[in-house]
């Protein structure tokens, strides 16, 4: 799974490459398309995140539960 950070990093790279010299047009278009996809995914992720305070509980079998604290 691509993390938010990986998306940001990829976007930086794409912007950098597009801003550089000697990118051929087909490559530029592919980069642009990838950039747009990453931007959209990152914005979606940002919109979906929510603030919560929870607590980690370890069950006897070693599995974990996260329960709301308040």
């Amino acid at each position: 799974m691509t993390t938010f950070e990986q998306r940001l990093a990829r976007l930086e790279t794409i912007a950098g490459e597009l801003e550089g010299d000697g990118v051929d047009l087909a490559r530029a278009l592919a980069l642009f398309e990838e950039g747009v996809q990453n931007l959209r995914a990152a914005a979606d992720e940002l919109a979906a995140a929510e603030a919560r305070v929870q607590r980690l509980i370890e069950r006897a079998d070693g599995s974990f539960d996260v329960i709301d604290r308040e």
Binding site: F4, L8, A15, E19, G35, A49, R55
Partner: protein, 407 residues
């Protein structure tokens, strides 16, 4: 040497010892050595409540059996001392010979050997010497293993979604972190992983909590936090095992222990050191607005760059086509010039030009040129083509010129 000494096998006193009055009063009523020591033990141990004694550490030995033995002495006297291994975890480090200390313990008698010893449970070294020593030792060991190297520091995630907070669930640290997160409306899930942050069990609980963070695997950042407190309160965060657990954490770590001035071993090992728990929360959670701005900037960069690139390519194309057109045009005019010169030369060869100079062409009725006397027959009709027209003509006796003749 044994941890819990007994009185020794308590012999029944022989009846004879009572017959002659007070035991030990006469040779006949002499008491056994064990009896003497047992009595001494009773008296001495009963006479002293646990107390602090000051002196200099001397002849320190960490025995194979795990206990520490040494003497505490001053200019006038010395006393044998022991620290049982089970009491040693309260000690930041073993004391060194020559250290001036105050030691807390109780005076005991080791009856089997007739020795008095001071059984120590705490030591305060002058100038906090034990803690300083412990810090140096721990730091050196971690350094040797490369755990303090700056290359080890991992960058913190820009947008962590799940932050594990290893701390006391009731502590001020957690309260501060939650408050900051609320204020910044950071869209983040805090998952508290409870651990005692002070007291004897704190190191173990902190290690366990950090291990839970790893085994759970659901966080993308971990904060190890504790509010301010005394040096002793914060001591668990200088524990080597805790430090190693922080270093072994699978996700980037922020250490926030005490206040600004308190620098712990955990701070040195963590990927990032925050001066306070609140500061840790600030560092960990960029606000949502910040992230949105960042995304917008990236978006502008990508689309701007793409647009600039396309404009650049279009310009190149335009220049190129202009160049091509110029080149073609040049080619054409060169060829036109060539054509003109060729045309001039062709013109010079043209029969029309010859006619212009006053020559005439005889042409047969079928259009063929009659250029030899042999082509003419007497009475034959033909055309005579001159500069400005055609004259019908007829052969009236053709003859080969005998000498030289005109046409």
């Amino acid at each position: 040497m044994q941890r819990h000494e007994q009185y020794g096998p308590q012999e029944e006193l022989p009846l004879s010892e009572f017959i002659d009055g007070v035991p030990g009063e006469t040779a006949r009523s002499a008491v056994a050595v064990g009896t003497l020591n047992a009595a001494a033990k009773d008296i001495i141990e009963g006479a002293f409540i646990p107390l602090w004694v000051r002196g200099e550490i001397n002849d320190f030995k960490a025995h194979r059996n795990g206990h520490w033995y040494f003497c505490l002495r001053d200019s006038r006297a010395q006393v044998r001392c022991v620290v049982w291994s089970s009491d040693q975890r309260r000690f930041p480090a073993p004391p060194d010979d020559g250290m001036q200390v105050a030691a807390f313990g109780r005076l005991t008698v080791y009856a089997a050997r007739g020795e008095m010893q001071f059984t120590i449970t705490r030591i305060e070294a002058e100038g906090d010497g034990l803690r300083r020593k412990a810090l140096e030792i721990t730091r050196a060991r971690l350094e040797k293993d490369g755990l303090l190297a700056s290359e080890r520091k991992r960058p913190l995630p820009r947008f962590p979604r799940v932050i594990a907070v290893v701390t006391s669930p009731e502590g001020a640290a957690l309260h501060d972190i939650v408050a900051v997160m609320r204020r910044r409306s950071a869209n983040v899930r805090l998952v508290v992983v409870p651990a005692a942050v002070q007291g004897d069990t704190a190191p173990e609980e902190l290690c366990y909590a950090l291990d839970q963070v790893n085994r759970w695997g659901g966080a993308d950042l971990a904060i190890v936090a504790r509010g301010g407190g005394s040096r002793e309160d914060l001591w668990a965060f200088n524990n080597e095992r805790v430090a190693r657990a922080v270093a072994a954490c699978g996700v980037p770590t922020i250490s926030a222990v005490g206040h600004e001035i308190d620098l712990s071993i955990c701070d040195l090992v963590a990927d990032h050191r925050a001066p306070t728990p609140s500061a840790a929360a600030e560092t960990a959670t960029s606000s949502r607005a910040e992230l949105e701005t960042h995304l917008r900037k990236l978006s502008l960069r990508v689309s701007g760059a793409a647009r600039a690139l396309i404009r650049d390519r279009a310009d190149t194309l335009r220049h190129l086509s202009r160049d091509v057109a110029g080149a073609v045009e040049g080619q054409i005019s060169t060829q036109r010039a060539t054509l003109q010169s060729v045309a001039g030369r062709l013109n010079a060869l043209s029969p029309v030009a010859t006619l212009a100079r006053g020559y005439a062409i005889a042409r047969a009725e079928d259009g063929g040129t009659l250029s030899s006397i042999d082509a003419f027959r007497d009475g034959q009709h033909f055309d005579l083509v001159v500069r400005d027209g055609t004259v019908p003509a007829r052969v009236d006796g053709a003859s080969r010129p005998s000498a030289r003749a005109g046409a």
